[in-house]
Symmetry: C2
Amino acid sequence: MELTTATAALGALAHETRLQVFRLLVRAGREGLPVGRIAEELGVAADGRLSFHLKELVAAGLAVSRQEGRFVYYATQYEAMNALLQFLTEDCCGGVPCDAEAAACAPAAKTKTASRRKSA
Amino acid sequence: MELTTATAALGALAHETRLQVFRLLVRAGREGLPVGRIAEELGVAADGRLSFHLKELVAAGLAVSRQEGRFVYYATQYEAMNALLQFLTEDCCGGVPCDAEAAACAPAAKTKTASRRKSA
DNA sequence: TCCATATTTCAATGATAATTTAAATATTGA
DNA sequence: TCAATATTTAAATTATCATTGAAATATGGA
């Protein structure tokens, strides 16, 4: 992962509403949630503001959207999330064994591939 | 971890210089690095700008500083880092087994305690 | 086709964060 | 105590981001 990409992703998460949305979507799994449902769960309005924040998450690569009927679903891009977490902890403590583990979260519905990496 | 705390931490990381500093410190381990060395490693000036960014990391709880002789050392606050990563992946996929693992990195020099959490 | 629901877009304003420049503080050794 | 190294602080400018308010687009059902 590139520095610029990581910075953009972190910037997208550095906002209370977006962070709440992101965490909600992480919980929601690969199928995601429609905008109205996101708004409802977080107790915010489904207006231009939320739309703006959702777009920011997509622009940063942390989420994807798809239209389904008259609803637009947003879902976590788990690969990007994992790459970001790994980027942050990379070569922790200079490679000396220190219980470092790359964070990983992949939705069971889609794949059951173990995400444990070689701990180097 | 609280939403506000996490947002602040992510905001601190959402800057190219600070992100580079953070990753450098993660690699450096608990003893950390003096400011001049950080500047040298990253190829940036050890000026007010770097000082400002270092302070931001400390303010966000992601780093700590200590004076040693005429040098000021900065080091990763691993506990905060781990808490943040855990916060981001919390209840991934609604608790359904999906290879979710809380990220963890603790410097070997200080503790060898396994940081693997119950994967729920 | 017309209305209602769902979501997005845009332009303007207001709020925050980063860089610059310059001066200040702290520690060590001569 | 003077000079040198190491790092921080502050005020002003510039750049970037978020909110507001209102209009626009899209889909499905009556």
